[in-house]
């Protein structure tokens, strides 16, 4: 009975993985089908022309470039704000901490539609109040910079959580020691605290980057006339679908897969080195015991 349940759970996991991956396979497959509608049935033969179309789609390339810029900006700003917030939360306590922390977490739960509309309204109204309704200058008009600000408002909270988790393992005594030895505040930050946080900061940056690429709701309401990849794909899906989107999806999935494989190889290598080191240590210990040195 126990064995049966175990096998069932293996089976379930495999099915679940198929469920997650099958749609991606179908979508990639349709990129190679020589049919005007994106589908894998009926199969009309292999073609590479959707990739050529994709390459010739200037609006798409423009949207892609926009997406990368927005994502990079969101990653940089979110990392700076998120790290600052984590340090602040970590060094205060009591009621203020609870209130601030809850507010920061709550930003993750605000629906993207609300963030989008509120960001848009605030900045355009602010511009209107400062400069009158006509001819508002740069930051107060709809555009991708507002998308960046809107996205930062909740992605910063995600970075904050990652950095805060890393801060838990930080020994504040190190900072004290450095200060006692005459380091300046800037040096303590740059040489001691930040190096400890780097893994979390990089992870946070990566999360922020990908979250930003994914984002639709905030961008949709704030973008003005500009496109990002998500918005562009969305408009394509609604009006006149062509398999170029599948070609794009295939390429993005490939990039993801390559990154995942690199990560996995790296992880395995590290695990092997770790295991070798442990075995080495064990052998040394045994040797020491045998020879009676210990």
């Amino acid at each position: 009975m126990h064995k049966l349940r175990q096998n069932l759970s293996h089976l379930y996991t495999v099915l679940f993985l198929c469920y997650l991956i099958a749609p991606l396979v179908v979508m990639s497959g349709a990129a190679f089908n020589d049919s005007k509608l994106p589908s894998i049935v009926p199969w009309k033969g292999w073609t590479g022309r959707w990739f050529v179309d994709l390459w010739n789609d200037d609006r798409m390339l423009m949207a892609f470039a926009n997406t990368l810029w927005v994502a990079a900006a969101v990653a940089v700003i979110s990392v700076i704000i998120g790290t600052a917030a984590a340090i602040l939360i970590n060094s205060i306590s009591g009621r203020v901490r609870t209130v601030l922390y809850s507010m920061m977490i709550a930003t993750i739960l605000i629906p993207g539609v609300v963030i989008g509309i509120s960001t848009m309204i605030m900045w355009t109204k602010l511009g209107g109040a400062l400069f009158g309704p006509e001819g508002k200058p740069f930051p107060f008009v709809p555009g991708l910079h507002l998308s960046v600000l809107g996205q930062v408002s909740y992605i910063a909270a995600m970075v904050m959580l990652l950095v805060l988790a890393r801060l838990q393992s930080f020994d504040p005594g190190l900072e004290e020691a450095a200060l006692d030895l005459g380091a300046s505040h800037g040096q303590v930050m740059r040489r001691i605290l930040l190096p400890h946080l780097y893994p979390a900061i990089f992870a946070g940056g990566a999360v922020a980057f990908f979250q930003s690429i994914e984002n639709f709701n905030v961008t949709q309401f704030t973008r003005g006339g500009a496109d990002t990849l998500t918005v562009y794909v969305f408009s394509k899906v609604r009006s006149g679908i062509t398999p170029t989107i599948n070609a794009l999806a295939f390429l993005l999935i490939c990039v993801t897969l390559v990154l995942a494989v690199i990560y996995e190889i790296n992880r395995r290598r590290r695990a092997r080195i770790e295991a070798a080191r442990e075995a080495e240590a064990r052998r040394a210990e045994e040797m020491a015991e045998v020879t009676g040195v210990a």
Binding site: Y12, Y19, L20, I21, P23, L24, V26, M27, I40, V41, I81, A84, A85, I87, L88, S91, S102, M103, M104, I105, A106, L109, I110, P111, G112, V113, V114, I115, I117, S118, I121, K125, P133, L149, G150, S153, A156, L161, P172, L179, H185, G186, V188, F216, N217, Q220, L229, T230, F234, V237, I245, A249, I253, T256, L257, L259, A260, Y263, E264, R267
Partner: protein
Amino acid sequence: MLRRYGPGLTLLICLLVAFWLLMLVIVPNITLFEQSFRPYLPVVEIGGPRDTYSFANYLKVLDSSVEKSLFGYSFSIPVHVYTFSLTIFYSMLVTVICFALAYPLAYYMAKIVNPKTLPTLLLMLFIPLWVSEVLRAFAWWIILAFKGPLNAMLLGIGLIDAPVRWTNMGYTGVVIGLIYTYVLFMLFPVYNAVQSLDTNQIEAAEDLGAPWWKIHWRIVLPHAKPGIASGSVMVFMLSAGSLLVPSILGSTTSQWFTQTIDQWFKDALDWNTASAYAFMLLSLCTVFVTIAMWLFKVKLSDIAK
């Protein structure tokens, strides 16, 4: 803090956090709230005598009733209220199904799988998560198409006689798409929670003769409650706030509340009513989540773990 980082750095940190919380969160939401009470006017009349506060935008929710029947009762209900209730209902349904799908896998990952293969499994689960949401919805658009692979497969194995119009059956397409898009947001919190359970407790219960369902009901589920709560809140809020999936996979009869907001904003260009509706979505979802958390006795700070 001041002593450790000095006045300059402390000020910088506080300013950054203040910019985030004030300029990006609080003031925009206050503006949204304020705008939602103003009427939609041509530019020249803004600030004029007709620009006064009122509940008019909120009351639009009660306009234009439709006849609906439920369990044999027929009643008339304002169309936007109807949309909103259905949004909440189907978001709950999505949350429940996501939990049902994710829980066995979370348990498997935490307690059954060989720890050596776990990182690989996690990575494979992460891959769909890195693929953009719009593409995942689009993938289901292809699969569910009238002449798509799902119908072809079902016809092939003889489960159905004629192709089914999946995306034209009320909310079916939307629910399928939302589950696929958000199930991983349920999986990871539940996995984290189950993982922290001491395996000895499960073994002890087994040794004492508890049946497997009782072990789950009395030991694993209570322990995983914070994880389940945070997963549920995430999935619920994401589903209710989703605009992409309902727009791509929705049918002619499946209006999502975010789509209504989108129409006020983009089609009617009435930002004030859109604000009122967005604010309603925000506050009602908040109320809903608060009640759910109170019922399950979890705190907001548990959610972010």
